[in-house]
């Protein structure tokens, strides 16, 4: 898994030293291009998955807490 992660990081960062200037960021600033499009929708969806699957915790969420389940 460590190899998979490092490979993906290398692909991400070595994909070219692209310089996108501030005047070119119109599309990147669109809501649909944000890491989280809608914070409340993301919270509700994550809540559903965290409470119904065994895979909560790790990146983007604290481990444990906020759920009375063993996940």
């Amino acid at each position: 898994m460590r190899g998979l992660f490092l490979t993906w990081v290398a692909v991400v960062l070595c994909s070219g030293c692209v310089r996108v200037g501030p005047y070119e960021r119109g599309y990147l600033s669109d809501a649909t291009m944000q890491p989280v499009v809608d914070p409340l929708e993301a919270f509700a969806t994550t809540h559903l998955h965290r409470a119904r699957e065994a895979t909560s915790g790790g990146i983007w969420s604290p481990a444990g807490g906020g759920c009375g389940c063993s996940n």
Binding site: L13, L28, G57, I59
Partner: protein
């Protein structure tokens, strides 16, 4: 090596706004109401009709979100979701009074973002959660460094949580020993994430996370069928589930977002791999498409596939052969081996044109979530947002 390349892409620099604004200013507010309608059966539930008890559950979830700016360097967001849950499975714990049939839960989560320099941002997260039988506090800190004229970022986070359970119900036995008033669990997690702009219309992100939990990790109202016939239609007894004292989880994830200006379309693809020391291995793939139909409205659709293996101590029929009363055991259907499929659609409408102040948005969405081990959830939601 990758970090060196990112640094070589240019000096870390971004324009800094020189203006200073006094006073707290609310910039954004959202409300959302979500309804979850769940049906299914699982062996951990005693709610009938058979050994695989009902997992019928309905959740009403209003949520509130507000973002306000303290000054030109500090902003705060407050998120408050409230759950009102009616559940069949918890009813078995308190069959006499049915006090657990309805459960209310609330969370408050606060994020404070501090722009320490033009390229360095600190983010503090803290909050608490409370419900009928347990409470939780959590907190964390993250650091983000902007690189290559904000074309790349790297973020590192540490989070922690602490839960405590109060004595709960007379059946089958107190989840907390009579010698203690409370039971506890805690967790620590860390993560690293990098993002890179590949073009004016392309963004990629990758991350790694690790989480460690210790304490009472079980779900108190879950039980395990004991000494059942081969069809698991009749059982001698039910035992409370037991978990190991610790759990270690790791995740690797990635995101690719691509906007297509010619058709006003955004396509997003996410992947997450999960592994822990309970032998759970999971792959999750999410595909999303956002299509602007006018300047003020878009429709979106998504499909998510999730595949997981079971925890090594999962069972639907605990027997006497090699029985160890102290060994881990669970019949929780959430921890079983299954495929989960989810699809959904959403419509969002900007009541006022985007880019203008005092922008109103309204959206509705529907999701359908199904698991191959007999569980399904319909989700409906409506939201309203206001940008000041």
């Amino acid at each position: 090596m990758p970090l060196t390349l990112a640094l070589f892409c240019g000096n870390a620099h971004s324009d800094a706004e020189d203006s200073s604004k006094d006073g707290v200013r609310v910039e954004e507010a959202h409300i959302r109401f979500t309804y979850f309608d769940q049906k299914g059966f699982g062996y951990q539930s005693q709610a009938g009709p058979g050994p695989a008890g009902s997992e019928r559950l309905q959740v009403y979830e209003p949520m509130f979100y507000v973002r306000f700016r303290q000054n030109d360097k500090v902003e705060h967001t407050i998120t408050v979701p409230i759950d009102i849950i009616t559940s069949a499975s918890t009813d078995a714990i308190d069959a006499l009074t049915t006090a657990s049939r309805h459960n209310e839960a609330g969370t408050i989560m606060i994020d404070t973002r501090v722009k320490a320099t033009d390229d360095d941002t600190l983010k503090f997260t803290y909050g608490g959660h409370g419900e009928e039988w347990f409470a939780s506090v959590f907190g964390g800190v993250g650091y983000t460094r902007d690189l290559a004229q904000d074309n790349a970022t790297i973020t590192a986070r540490i989070d922690g949580s602490f839960d405590w359970f109060t004595p709960y119900g007379p059946w089958p036995r107190r989840i907390v020993p009579l010698t203690r008033k409370f039971d506890f669990r805690g967790g620590l997690s860390g993560s690293v994430e990098v993002s890179q702009v590949l073009s004016p219309t392309t963004l990629v992100k990758a991350g790694y996370g690790i989480a460690w939990q210790k304490g009472a990790l079980l779900t108190p109202w879950n039980s395990v069928p004991f000494l059942c016939n081969p069809d698991v239609t009749e059982c001698f007894a039910r035992l409370q589930e037991q978990f190991p004292g610790t759990r270690l989880k790791q995740t690797v994830s990635g995101l690719l977002a691509q906007h297509i200006p010619r058709t006003s379309t955004t396509v997003r693809l996410s992947y997450r791999f999960f592994a822990d020391d309970y032998d759970v291995r999971a792959h999750t793939l999410l595909g999303e498409i956002y299509q602007y139909v006018t300047e003020r409205a878009y429709i979106s659709a998504h499909y998510r596939a999730h595949r997981q293996t079971a925890v090594y101590f999962w069972t639907t029929n605990l027997g006497l052969a090699n029985f160890d009363p102290g060994a881990p055991r669970t019949s929780d259907s959430d921890l079983a081996e299954f495929w989960a499929h989810e699809w959904g659609a959403k419509v969002l409408f900007h009541i006022t044109p985007p880019g203008r102040p005092r922008q109103h948005d309204i959206d509705v969405y529907f999701n359908r979530y199904t698991r191959t081990n007999n569980l399904s959830v319909n989700v409906g939601s409506i939201g309203y947002g206001y940008n000041f």
